[in-house]
Every structure is written in structure tokens, then in C-alpha cells.
């Protein structure tokens, strides 16, 4: 796995040449929010320079300034030693700066070639530009392992390949300095490894690369130097070889981080959720759940580990009140001993909430929040029918006060309930959702990817809250693709693969390696999988209090 060390670290940066990028005292405010405060940064030529920081630390703003998307309020930029006012992207491009945005700026129904030449055409007619670009792309693809079919339409490409198109766009414009904003957020591990090989190749050709990320593993793996940002300020710049993930993490949040979650042993109580033989076929006719059996008691966390796309999302959505995920369903789900409806009335989110089921959905922006609505409005979605908010007319003053108190308890920053949800960073958006769903002490909490795209400080906070909620007696079903998270939080771990539960483990008695094998679908031989021995529906079941007269005499 380890990359061949190309050169000693000391030899790479050319001491005589001016730094590729020099920022002096860059400041930028958006209204009341100071996104960047007096930032100094020096990036040496021919290096991979990492910039880390929590979500909302100001990394992306700083890079957008460098690419001419925003004008700084104050400060000076030097590129290759020359002072430069970057008024627009065109200036940045001419200065040899290229940017790969987190959300790709590609025209989805254009071909790779058309996207590459857009804005960098040779003349008024397309044909010669396309011909030259095709030849040049072939060369670039060969030199940097950036193979992609020039004639392919973007929509047909994988995310990894779309990212290559973005890199090619920058290189085609003769970029010497390449900025990548959270490039691995959308990539599979294999795609990320390939990207790192590409980046090392580019560096070895003398290009300068700025890598923005909040993943410390990537920083340690690929960068030569790393700068840490915290709350709009540049905290430190260190050589990667001379630092450690723990030190970087501490610099990022400004205090020691609990990398392990401290938690007392669980004291499971009454059964809350029982799932028997749940099968689900989706609209495309794919069987997403193939007979799921799970039990969850009050006061415990059941973690579901697995590579995403193995049925976890469907399970969570069905339980959370999105019955439309299923075209065909069978099996039974009981809540506190009573069967709950899986289709039709009562199977929707309102019905679930009435049963005491709260849901932190996997995609907070699409399902957890309405991004254009204020934080205080978002604070009661799903509970907006509660009488405490008024009958026919909403008591906005009460809702505002409630939201502000909730946000304070969950340390949401900025603490301003009148901002739209989209103005908060990812971690703070997640805290808004968590606050709404957890503050009511539900009997059952469904949590999907609680810390996806969330910074370390917020991760720690959300984890602690989940443990507190568990200790207060809530049953928690946790779905996460982060194995570390599942192992740290869960009292029991169930591994899902291809719509089945491959096995259950206690976190203290298993290893990531063993779980990894189960996640890859390697059959569990030590213990029989739940579904293998006893067919669903044939297990001994508790008496059904919903139908006490079943089998009895008609009245």
C-alpha cells in the first residue's frame, strides 16, 4: 500500500524558487460571519500541501478567494512571488491555478471533450478545438493515469471518472497549482487510492497541489506539509513527516479529542423493536431485504455495520416512515410487542412518530431539513402538529424560543435560529436534526450516518448525546458505514450484506478484521447466522397483546 518514497522530503521543494502561493493577512466576512481572519499561508512549489480543519473552519472560503470566486476584504496574494489581484476565475486560470470543486462543475449532458474545452476554446469554431483537446487528453491520460473516454457523456461516468475530468480540465488550462476541495468525499476507497497516485504523479512532475480535507488519514498518506485551520484562523503549518494524526486532531479542535467513546455498560430493558422475516423488493424489482430478523431493547444501541448499498438504507427508511421504498413487502415489525403497519396509513413518518419512533435520516439535506427554511422552523418539522405550538395558528414566539434553547443545548454554531438551515456547516446542520429528534426522548431512535461529513468536534458531541440518550432508556438503531463509529458506539453489532444479517457480534469480542469479512459477505462459520437455522415466523414469539382473543370464541 505504501507509496514508493520518490525523494527525500528535504530535496523536493526548490529552495531558490519563490513559493507557489503566498497569502498574507487574508480576511473575508459574510455578513456577521467571519469566514477567514488574517490568514497567512505559504505553499512551496512542487509539494502536496494539505489544509485541514473542521467543517466551517473556512478552508473552502480561502480556496474560493484564491480561485477568484470571492474578493478578500483584506490581504495580499502572491503567486510564484508576484503580487496578484485575483478578481475573477479567469485571472486565476491565467496565473496557472486550477480548482477541482467538491461539487463538480461539469455540464452533465456534454461529453468529456466539450467539458474540457469549455471556456478554453482555441477559436470561434469548435472542430479544431475538439481535435486538439482530444490529442492533448490522450497525452495527459497517459502521463498521469487519468484515463477517461473523451467522447463519453458525463452522466454516464462514475463519480471517480467525473473527478478525473475536472482534473483534466485544470491541466488542459496549463494549471501549475491544483486545488482539490474535499476530493475523496464522494469516492470509494479504491478510487481515492487511485486519486492519490495521480496526485503524487502530478507532484513529481513539478506541479503544486493543495488538498483540502478533513480526513486525517489522507493528510498523513499523501501530503508533504499540512496547514491547520480552526474557526477562520490559520493555526499551524507543519511538515507531515513530523506530525501525527493525534496532534493534527488536537490542533483542529483546539483540545484533546476522545478518539474512543467512553461509555458505561448498557443495561438493556424491555424489548422495543422486533423484526421478523422482513423482506422488501423495491420498485426496480431488486430484493433489498432478504429476511431480516433483529431485536432491540430499551437502553441499548444496536449498530448495523456494512458497506453502503446492502439494504441498510431501505431498512432504515421503511422503519422511519418512507413506505414508498418498497414495492413488495413481507414480514413483521413489532414495536413494544405490537405489530406496526408497514404500508398504507400509519406507515408514514407521522405514524411512526406517534409510536415514539424518531428518525435522524441518512441524508440530512434531502430528508432531515428544508435548507431554505429558518433553523427555528426546521426545529419542529414532524412535530409541528403538537398542541404546544398552537392550534390553528402557530405560536412562532414559542417555537423560536424552543429552537434557540435546543440549539444552545446542542452547541449549534452560529447560535442564531433565524438563519436558514443552508447557512450552517454540515456538522451544525446535523446537530439541528439531532436536537429535534433526540430532545423528545423517543422510545426508539433510528440514526443513519450520524456523522457523515461532520467534523471531529461535532462527531464527539453527537456520540456523547447518543450514549446519554441510551442511558436514559431509548433503544437506538444505528446505521453507519464508518466501522470505527459502529464499534465505538454499539452494544451489539449486526453486519448486513446483500440484504441479510450476516451475524451479530459484541463489540468487545470482535475485531475490525472479523467484521470486515462479514461485511464482504464471507459466511459466518463460527456462529450460525440468525436467518439460517430457524425460518422466519417459526420462532417462539411472545403472546400478541394486540389480538388477545385470537383463537378464542367469537363474542
Amino acid at each position: 500500500m505504501a507509496a514508493p518514497a520518490a525523494m527525500p522530503d528535504e530535496g523536493r521543494p526548490d529552495a531558490a524558487a519563490p513559493p507557489a502561493i503566498e497569502l498574507r493577512g487574508i480576511s473575508k466576512a459574510f455578513g456577521p460571519v467571519q469566514a477567514n481572519r488574517a490568514i497567512d499561508l505559504t505553499v512551496a512549489r512542487g509539494t502536496i500541501h494539505g489544509i485541514v480543519g473542521e467543517n466551517g473552519a473556512g478552508k473552502s472560503t480561502l480556496m474560493s478567494i484564491l480561485y477568484g470566486f470571492y474578493r478578500p476584504d483584506a490581504g495580499e496574494i502572491r503567486v510564484n512571488g508576484e503580487p496578484l489581484v485575483i478578481a475573477d476565475s479567469q485571472t486565476a486560470i491565467r496565473a496557472g491555478i486550477g480548482m477541482v470543486f467538491q461539487h463538480f462543475k461539469l455540464v452533465r449532458n456534454f461529453t468529456v471533450l466539450e467539458n474540457v474545452i469549455l471556456g478554453a476554446e482555441d477559436g470561434a469554431l469548435l472542430r479544431p478545438s475538439l481535435a486538439r483537446a482530444r490529442a492533448e487528453l490522450t497525452g495527459l491520460a497517459r502521463d498521469y493515469q487519468l484515463e477517461v473516454d473523451p467522447g463519453a457523456v458525463i452522466d454516464e461516468l462514475s463519480v471517480g471518472h467525473q473527478q478525473r475530468v475536472e482534473i483534466l480540465k485544470a491541466l488542459y488550462r496549463r494549471a501549475d497549482i491544483l486545488i482539490l476541495d474535499e476530493p475523496t468525499g464522494v469516492l470509494t476507497p479504491a478510487e481515492a487510492d487511485h486519486l492519490f497516485r495521480i496526485l503524487r504523479g502530478l507532484r513529481d512532475e513539478g506541479k503544486t497541489i493543495i488538498l483540502i480535507t478533513h480526513k486525517l488519514r489522507e493528510i498523513m498518506e499523501v501530503t508533504d506539509a499540512v496547514s491547520v485551520m480552526r474557526r477562520g484562523e490559520m493555526v499551524a503549518t507543519v511538515r507531515t513527516a513530523e506530525t501525527s494524526p493525534a496532534e493534527l486532531a488536537e490542533l483542529m479542535v483546539g483540545r484533546k479529542v476522545l478518539l474512543r467513546v467512553e461509555k458505561p455498560a448498557a443495561r438493556p430493558g424491555e424489548p422495543v423493536l422486533e423484526i421478523r422475516g422482513l423482506r422488501l423488493i423495491d420498485a426496480e424489482g431488486v430484493e433489498r431485504l432478504r429476511g431480516i430478523d433483529l431485536d432491540l431493547r430499551a437502553g441499548e444501541i444496536l449498530g448495523i455495520a456494512g458497506v453502503s448499498g446492502n439494504g441498510q438504507s431501505e431498512l432504515l427508511e421503511l422503519l422511519g416512515g418512507f413506505p414508498e421504498v418498497a414495492a413488495k413487502l413481507s414480514g413483521e415489525v413489532r414495536m413494544a410487542g405490537r405489530p406496526i403497519p408497514l404500508t398504507g396509513r400509519g406507515a408514514d413518518a407521522a405514524g411512526r412518530r406517534a409510536l415514539g419512533i424518531a428518525h435522524v435520516p441518512e441524508d440530512r439535506q434531502a430528508e432531515g431539513l428544508i435548507m431554505d427554511f429558518h433553523a427555528w422552523e426546521n426545529a419542529i418539522f414532524g412535530y409541528h402538529g403538537d398542541p404546544e405550538w398552537g392550534a390553528a395558528l402557530l405560536r412562532n414566539d414559542r417555537i423560536r424560543a424552543h429552537a434557540a434553547a435546543e440549539m444552545e443545548r446542542f452547541d449549534v454554531r452560529p447560535l442564531d435560529a433565524d438563519l436558514p438551515a443552508k447557512s450552517f456547516s454540515g456538522g451544525n446542520q446535523q446537530k439541528l436534526v439531532c436536537a429535534r429528534e433526540m430532545e423528545r426522548h423517543p422510545a426508539l431512535l433510528l440514526v443513519g450516518q450520524p456523522t457523515r461529513g461532520v467534523d471531529i468536534g461535532a462527531i464527539e458531541f453527537i456520540h456523547r448525546r447518543l450514549i446519554e440518550l441510551r442511558d436514559a432508556g431509548t433503544a437506538i438503531l444505528l446505521v453507519s458505514v464508518e466501522l470505527d463509529e459502529v464499534m465505538a458506539l454499539s452494544d451489539r453489532i449486526a453486519v448486513m450484506f446483500d440484504g441479510r444479517i450476516m451475524g451479530e457480534r459484541m463489540p468487545g469480542e470482535t475485531t475490525p478484521g472479523e467484521l470486515g469479512l462479514l461485511m464482504a459477505g464471507v459466511t459466518d462459520t463460527g456462529r450460525a447466522p440468525d436467518a439460517a437455522g430457524i425460518p422466519p415466523g417459526h420462532r417462539p414469539e411472545p403472546p400478541d397483546p394486540a389480538h388477545p382473543h385470537e383463537g378464542g370464541l367469537p363474542q
Binding site: F30, T61, Y67, G68, F69, D88, S89, Q90, T91, A92, I93, M99, F101, K105, L106, V107, R108, N109, F110, E114, N115, I117, L118, G119, A120, E121, G123, A124, L125, L126, R127, S129, K169, S423
Partner: protein, 321 residues
């Protein structure tokens, strides 16, 4: 129905198609650049009035044409200002333009000419006359094709040929030039254009201006080619029919020609046969006259395949944080 009648209907269809085609191409430029334009109707109406007025006063149809284009461009500038610079709602801006044109033309017409909102009838050089294409009379003797060439292809006003030439020209501009590539990109993902260092605003203004130009020609043709003067509300919903044709054509130039010809043909048939008798049943003229509009509703309701509009259509471009 003999061959001569068919030719007459086709000839009429080409003439009736022309304003629709020009307006449809106008909408194509605008919407391909991400600016919805339901103000085609208003711009055409304004252009028709301006063209007829100036032609009536000066006696020159060419000055009329220039006035028509200018009138349409002024409204296009309003639309651009509202929807591009001030990032307003494009539909509301379009509706406002339609109302403005509808009221202003009648008001000004009454004030200037005192004829109840019409302009004086145009004659002679104040109207576009037919252009006889080379060899039209010589070839008339050739069986089938000769009369077709002489009747349907030849003998239209210059603006008909402008509209027909605009189709391949638009195709070429859109798919073979740098301008076209950027125009299509700005309607699909303006951020891609912006990050490439090209001005989204300038491109969208260019598209809206081209739309204004084409609507201007369409309006001038209505008042000085198809008719002999301006009449209140003379566009009669053609701007909306052009929008329906644009959706039908899925925002592509050649299919736009086909779609607008179809609408022209319906109108021509309705004009020729007010009442169609099929055995004992008589289809009333009202139905035939309503046919283009019924077809519009059917197309807009999405019965004709799935038409995917430009992705960024209708959305003002704001740089994201």
C-alpha cells in the same frame, strides 16, 4: 382535393409557420441559455405594432422592420434586466411583458392614429412583397416539382426566407461554434461556465438579445407581411404556441421547424376548410380554428414524449457559498 389545392394549403402553411418559427427559435436561444421566456407573445406584439406604425408613417417597410426589432429588443432588455441582473422571477417578468405590450400597443395606437387601436392599412412599399425565386416561372412546366417550387417555395416575402435560413444557422451556431457551446453550457450548469472564467451574465444577455431580434422579425412579419397593418392582439397566442412547439421540438432547431410547420398546417387547413364534412357529421369551423390551441394544450400536458428542459432553466445564477 386536387394537387393545386394541396399546394395552396402548403403555401399558406409556410406563411403561417413563419412567425411561429421565428418566435420558437427566439425561445430556443433564450431557454437554451437558461432564461425562460414566456414574453415571446408580448415582444412579437410590440414589434408588430412598431413595425406597422413606422411603415405607415414613413411608407418604408424596411424602416418598419428596424422599428419592430427595436421595439422587441427594448422589451428583451427589460426581461434581461429583471431576470439576469436583478435575478427576478423569469415567469413573472415574462407575464409583465405580455401585459405591458398588450396594453401599450392599443394605447399608443389609439393616441397616434385614432383608429381604435389599429394602424392604417399598409400598401405598396409599406408592406413586404413576394420574392420570386430564380427560375420559378421557367420550371413551372416541370410536372409535380415545378408547381411545388413555384407555389410553395417561391413567392414569399423576404422574411419567410430569413426564418427558414435561421434554422440551419441556429443549428450551426449552437453545435459548431464556441458561442453555442457556452450558450448550451450556461443553460445546463452556469457554475461550469463561471468557473471556466466566462461571464454567465454576458452570455445570458446575448441569448436574450438574440431572442429579442428574432421576435422583432416575427412581429414585423405579422404586421407587414402576413397582414397589412396592426390589429389589437394580432399575435393571438402565437408566442405561446411557439413555446409549445419549442417543447415539442425538445429545444432543437430542426425539430422546431417541423413542429411549427405542423401548427402552420393546422391553421392553413382551418382557414381553407372552415367546415369539414365527414359523412353526416360536420366538424364546425370553431373546432378547426381551435385545433392549434388544443394541440398546444396536449403538448404542454406532456403527452408527446418526455422533454427534458435545460437543467438550469428558470433559475437566476447566484454564486454559491
Amino acid at each position: 382535393m386536387d394537387y393545386a389545392t394541396i399546394l395552396q394549403i402548403l403555401d399558406s402553411a409556410v406563411r403561417l409557420m413563419t412567425p411561429l418559427l421565428l418566435a420558437c427559435l427566439a425561445g430556443l436561444y433564450s431557454e437554451r441559455a437558461g432564461v425562460f421566456d414566456i414574453g415571446l407573445e408580448g415582444k412579437m406584439l410590440m414589434a408588430a405594432f412598431a413595425a406597422a406604425s413606422v411603415a405607415a408613417v414613413t411608407g418604408s417597410v424596411w424602416l418598419g422592420l428596424i422599428a419592430g426589432i427595436a421595439g422587441s429588443l427594448i422589451l428583451a432588455a427589460v426581461h434581461g434586466l429583471a431576470s439576469i441582473t436583478f435575478r427576478g422571477n423569469q415567469l413573472i417578468s415574462g407575464v409583465a411583458i405580455n401585459f405591458l405590450a398588450s396594453g401599450l400597443t392599443v394605447l399608443l395606437g389609439q393616441k397616434i392614429f385614432g383608429l381604435g387601436g389599429r394602424t392604417p392599412s399598409l400598401a405598396g412599399d409599406a408592406r413586404f412583397g413576394p420574392v420570386t425565386l430564380p427560375l420559378a416561372e421557367t420550371l413551372r412546366g416541370v410536372p409535380v416539382l415545378g408547381p411545388f417550387y413555384a407555389e410553395v417555395i417561391s413567392g414569399h416575402t423576404p422574411l419567410v426566407y430569413v426564418a427558414l435560413i435561421a434554422v440551419p444557422l441556429t443549428w450551426w451556431l449552437l453545435f459548431r461554434t464556441r458561442f453555442g457551446l457556452r450558450l448550451r453550457a450556461v443553460g445546463e450548469n452556469p457554475a461550469s461556465v463561471d468557473t471556466a472564467g466566462v461571464s454567465v451574465t454576458r452570455l445570458r444577455y446575448a441569448a436574450v438579445a438574440i431572442a429579442g431580434l428574432l421576435c422583432g422579425i416575427a412581429g414585423a412579419y405579422l404586421a407587414t407581411g402576413l397582414s397589412a397593418g396592426f390589429v389589437k392582439e394580432m399575435t393571438a397566442g402565437r408566442g405561446f404556441i411557439a413555446l409549445a412547439a419549442l417543447i415539442f421540438a425538445k429545444w432543437r432547431p430542426w425539430p422546431a421547424l417541423g413542429a411549427t410547420f405542423l401548427f402552420g398546417l393546422f391553421e392553413a387547413i382551418a382557414n381553407r376548410y372552415p367546415n369539414i364534412e365527414i359523412g353526416p357529421v360536420t366538424i364546425p369551423s370553431m373546432f378547426m380554428n381551435a385545433l392549434p390551441y388544443i394541440l398546444t394544450v396536449i403538448i404542454l400536458a406532456g403527452f408527446v414524449g418526455r422533454a427534458i428542459p435545460p437543467r438550469a432553466g428558470g433559475e437566476p445564477y447566484v454564486k454559491e457559498r
